[in-house]
Symmetry: none
Subunit: 369 residues, 2 copies
DNA sequence: TCCGCTGCTGAATCTGATA
DNA sequence: TTATCAGATTCAGCAGCGG
């Protein structure tokens, strides 16, 4: 594909609309390499037989819709591989996919993902804080669903906002198990008759975490099983573009009304904690040029090693000369070393990491734009 | 099979011993329909490439054993289907199987189980209370493993001690997610050199829950990937018969010594299974994800300071960005600050501490362990 | 004996910008 | 495309030691 083709394709993308039809056919009509993230909540192939009743004999409203009926595993597999293949064609090279499912279908989906060339990054457990109990006492309470996060291929440079998710989790890195309530109450959409509009509406909180963690503002998010449009609603809130595909007219109607009512968060609120790597690079030599460190001055490490600063911003250790990183690594016998945190200078008897000086320079750069 | 055959087969069973050899060949030599429960911890096919270092530069001791190396998915699939087929032949008609794995292999195992005619009853998530973190900040902490529980076939009358598991869970129906620590400390078996005897020893608490829930005293439990014999040790404690199969002599030696030391119904060993209950930690970000607070919304303090909420659960104050605690401390010039009581939101003209929202979330989590 | 501090470790598919 | 090198990155639990 030429750059021109891709630009043409991108221009043709039906952003922020719901396409009516079968997801494989609709995806086939979209341009390759045009989507940043796909979130998919495919039919679970539940294979329910008769009714299920609660201990008080009331009937459980199960998923018995036509779209969840398949002939058998082989038919479900063909369906799965067909939509996963089209989805992969649509993804940009560094794009990624999330798929949610239960034990009825997730193993087949996961194996198909691997067979189609996707590269699994994590499986994530959505642990429901308020699941439906097991009424018969014949099994464990089915209290979770599984999500799979995969990049388009091995080695792809997928988007992962590590610091943002860490911030969401109060400073501790986000784990693969997420405790979130199921979608109930005011969030649960109702149809005209007051019945739930969709049997398996996903909670906003789930999509919020996925989109904050794995997309950037302005990214294109595709949901091939749009349902009542949680993906679109959250994408809009977060300032991402979205495309939905949905066969059932009744779901599309509910989704359109819903998304129209969503307000985008304001720009400042969408800013997210950024990684250090995104900050401007400051060469160590600048600390010397600016006179923050004197040539000839001795730097020390917490492990008791020392080295002397030279005018060109290199260090001289016992036997070694080189960058702050190289000398640190050599003195420790380590394969690598972050010299910024390893080396310290001494002022008025106090030992200070040289990284503090780098932060001063960065702060100045901020102020001067 | 006649009743006579089955009795002959049962009589020939090598109970409470470890068979040396490849599990497919060893299972093929055992009589059909003779086993009540199988617990299997097959190789995960991790496909690790280079080595991994912690931020302090120490090297992670990875699973690089020969038994975890496969040519590719197709080779792993053949292996999986071969042992699952033999395992199914050995099961009594009402027998069941548990298999444990990670995202590297569990999807292939689950699909194979279904294809071979097993009937999945639950997938169970082992949520590790103390997993290894993600050192490079490139993915989510891999904090769980998945177990699949399946009966030999659809409609089988498998053993499930509903009341026993409910009692283990302090009177509440057992859920499909189990919080248990990984195997460390005194429980972790060491070799003569003081190194861990097996790279992936499973905790007693995990097997305890499986065997209490899915076997009866006197049942025969088979583990085709016996390793250092946690399955055998727990079976002996609980008065079940066991059969192990293990290729590696070093593992068999450790397992034999270990199981010889186990006393039936060792009370102290059973203590391990009681989960510790602490007040669950609720990250501030969850209030945002759940829509209790809106990104862009302003929080205020009793001292007249204010800050705005961002989508990743951080706050922006006058000059500071960070957690609710960090921003509160900075604005007050204090070394620390409890953001939960310091910050308030405004609804209908009323100022409410954000801690009220945390209490709401905790109330939802109550009773769901 | 208790407390705090340091150090070590666990089934892990673990970098990215620039030349 | 490949080589080079700067430099970013961790949580819970247990053992051992010193005061």
């Amino acid at each position: 594909m030429t750059k021109m083709d891709r630009m043409k394709g991108a221009a043709a993308l039906p952003l922020n609309t719901i396409l009516a039809g079968d997801c494989v056919a609709e995806m086939a009509a979209l341009p390759a390499g045009s989507v940043d993230l796909i979130f998919a909540d495919p039919p679970y192939n539940l294979q329910l037989k008769g009714d299920l009743r609660r201990p008080d004999n009331s009937r459980v409203d199960a998923v018995d819709d036509a779209w969840d009926r398949f002939e058998g595993f082989s038919s479900y597999d063909s369906f799965t591989r067909a939509w996963l293949r089209e989805a992969r064609r649509l993804l940009k090279p560094d794009g990624a996919i999330w798929v949610i499912g239960s034990y009825h279908n997730i193993f087949r989906v996961g194996a198909a993902l691997q067979d189609e060339g996707y590269w699994i990054l994590n499986d994530v457990v959505w642990r429901k804080s308020n699941p439906m109990p097991n009424f018969r006492g014949k099994r464990l309470t089915n209290a979770h669903e599984t999500l799979i996060w995969a990049s388009r291929s091995e080695g792809a440079r997928y988007t992962f906002n590590y610091e943002a998710l860490k911030a969401l989790n109060e400073g501790i890195q986000m784990r693969s198990d997420w405790v979130l309530p199921i979608c109930t109450g005011g969030e649960r959409l109702k149809d005209a008759a007051g019945e739930k509009a969709h049997p398996t509406q996903k909670p906003i909180s789930l999509l919020h975490r996925v989109l904050v963690g794995c997309t950037k503002p302005g990214d294109v998010v595709l949901d091939p099983f749009f349902g009542t449009g949680t993906t679109g609603a959250v994408a809009k809130m977060l300032g991402r573009d979205w495309i939905g595909i949905e066969r059932e007219e009744s779901y599309r109607t509910v989704a359109e009304t819903r998304i129209a009512q969503v307000r985008k968060f304001d720009k400042a609120a969408l800013e997210v904690t950024r990684p250090k790597r995104a900050e401007p690079r400051v060469p160590f030599g600048q600390l010397v040029e600016r006179g923050m460190l004197r040539p000839g001055e001795t730097l020390v490490s917490a492990t008791g090693k020392s080295a002397r600063v030279r005018a060109d911003g290199t260090l001289v250790g016992l036997d070694v000369t080189g960058s702050i990183h190289q000398v640190g690594a050599a003195l420790e016998g380590a394969p690598s070393c972050n010299g910024w945190t390893y080396w310290h200078f001494v002022r008025d008897g106090v030992t200070v990491p040289i990284d503090v000086l780098r932060q001063q320079i960065r702060a100045e750069m901020q102020g001067s734009g």
